[in-house]
Point group: C4
Chain length 205, copies 4
Amino acid sequence: MESRRVEALADGVFAIAMTLLVLEVRVPELAEPVTGTGMVDALAGLLPSVAGYVVSFVILGMIWIGHHNQFRFIRRVDRALLWLNIFYLLCVAFVPFATAFLARYPLQPASLLIYGGTLLLGGLMHLLHWNHAVGHGLVSEEVTPEVAELFRERISMGIAVYLAATLAGAFLPKVGLVLFACMPILYVLPGRIDPRLIEEAAAEE
Amino acid sequence: MESRRVEALADGVFAIAMTLLVLEVRVPELAEPVTGTGMVDALAGLLPSVAGYVVSFVILGMIWIGHHNQFRFIRRVDRALLWLNIFYLLCVAFVPFATAFLARYPLQPASLLIYGGTLLLGGLMHLLHWNHAVGHGLVSEEVTPEVAELFRERISMGIAVYLAATLAGAFLPKVGLVLFACMPILYVLPGRIDPRLIEEAAAEE
Amino acid sequence: MESRRVEALADGVFAIAMTLLVLEVRVPELAEPVTGTGMVDALAGLLPSVAGYVVSFVILGMIWIGHHNQFRFIRRVDRALLWLNIFYLLCVAFVPFATAFLARYPLQPASLLIYGGTLLLGGLMHLLHWNHAVGHGLVSEEVTPEVAELFRERISMGIAVYLAATLAGAFLPKVGLVLFACMPILYVLPGRIDPRLIEEAAAEE
Amino acid sequence: MESRRVEALADGVFAIAMTLLVLEVRVPELAEPVTGTGMVDALAGLLPSVAGYVVSFVILGMIWIGHHNQFRFIRRVDRALLWLNIFYLLCVAFVPFATAFLARYPLQPASLLIYGGTLLLGGLMHLLHWNHAVGHGLVSEEVTPEVAELFRERISMGIAVYLAATLAGAFLPKVGLVLFACMPILYVLPGRIDPRLIEEAAAEE
């Protein structure tokens, strides 16, 4: 209950950041009279921004699921956790800009540094958030050291992937693009957190 | 309770997508001094975007009611359901773009393909979502095979109508427009899901 | 509980419509070097849009309070009520456009017709919403015929004021502007709904 | 429970205002072919708006935490409190404009007057809100006169700092900028409200 409003703010920021992404897909201006070829060219020109929309929406969805999972075990929030959460949301809300930049300059190293850097910083905040919650007894009793460690591993794995994709993108933008586009696939697949562990914990509630 | 935050994210995305639609209705720039005729012409020029706003708002409202009805019976969410929900919301959040495109090029087959395709994909996700929830025991006990089938029929009916309107629009844009504009009428009318069935189920809770 | 998600959608639409209003207050472009006079002129030029922001924010706040009060007594929602609520929100979400139009053409009868018409239609939906809820037994038992009538009177009074301001504005835009700007004052003052009646009802819960 | 929807509206407005801030960070248009120097210059040109995004996001986060803390002790809302809350949110939702103005004209006294004035007015509303809640018995019993006074002191301290930064900025814009940028540091540090006092109160619930 104590964490209810923190979740409400977070859900709001996620929902808005995800929906604002669509504002970067702009209706093209075609010369009149509109021809079939003109339309096909215009639609092809939309592809980078549509791809950016889809990838960023799915990545934000993935991050939101991580937030959701973490808060299932957080029972109380203290001042520091509130702030870590706000710095985390600051990164989340910056994703629409990073996406627009990437869609506009898809082959520039700077684009991948901004995009990857935003996700990387968000991942670090997420890790600090979890460590603080575990370290200050703000999580429920079901969080044994093993569960805490599993979460830590999973978040760290995400950070490592962001770091690799960002570094790759800084030198070979195309490789970075492919890595970011593939990231959701990594997460849609069942994760390393043993589902039985989580379910048992939930069942005990 | 488990599904509370999924509903919060969904309600946020719906509320934002519905409200963002209004950003596509733009204040016209009139030559000074403003004359009565100039104003009437400018207002007439707003009609496509106002119509797009109204139709898309009502269609999104209709889809939200479907989401609302489905979640009344969903008791738990698993990883796959979270992801299906995110892909579903990805389509919902794309509607403002599809609407703006349609309002800008109302008589182009491409516009109706984008608009109808977005709704069609959303409908398919909605169906997969329900099938997964029923098939993996995530729904409450009131969902007898008959209730599950009634929901499935209703969602499939929607998908069939979207498909028909999209295909018609790809060849005869005006027919597609009329079909999409009439869609809400179909749904405002009482549906095929026997209300007594739902109410009995709700009463047993 | 049944009405929880309807309220969540409504709160989302209100929050977004209220916050989107600020997008219509645009940062002016000043000639470099910026002079004191240039800045004063630019700020003076912002006044209509700032006034529009303040008045519409407060009017939407007023309408939200009305929605809040009505839903305190609504216990269940049926299909028709869901739809009336969506048509009501359609008017609410249109207010940012109506405000931007009014701020851009403050002295045009058309502006006041659009602005007043949006509020008027919203008020009518609100009245239909209440009448449906009362007529179909969707409200809690505390709603005696007297309480129902008090709500009806209050909503009707609002509709009458909107109608008067819209009609006046259609002929004398300045009078309409003053009436709309004064509307919140009418509502900030204690209303005709006997607070004891409401509090007793709430206490009985 | 009574205050649930007020919190929902507030959380929505905060989440949207915070996320809309990112719309003011715009993707720069670079001359083709994009050169390394051109990109560096463009990124440097983004600094004021990125700084504005970060500072305003953190300040809004800080204000949201204050709202959150205040509502933990508010048990009921009356008509006047609803209105004070709406006037308070009116200031919160204006922050994206004030931030955009400041990012566009960072060295103009007018920018600091608008930015600081918005925060100052919000702070005053927050103080009136708390005083009204305490004075009309809308807070829970844990709020002893000492707790009420601690809150009052903290809000007043914030108002004093806003006032100082605004006045300084009106004469020396750079000093105002530094003060506003440092404000969050003041709040991230543990506050003067004795945490034991709050925790004891919470424990008694």
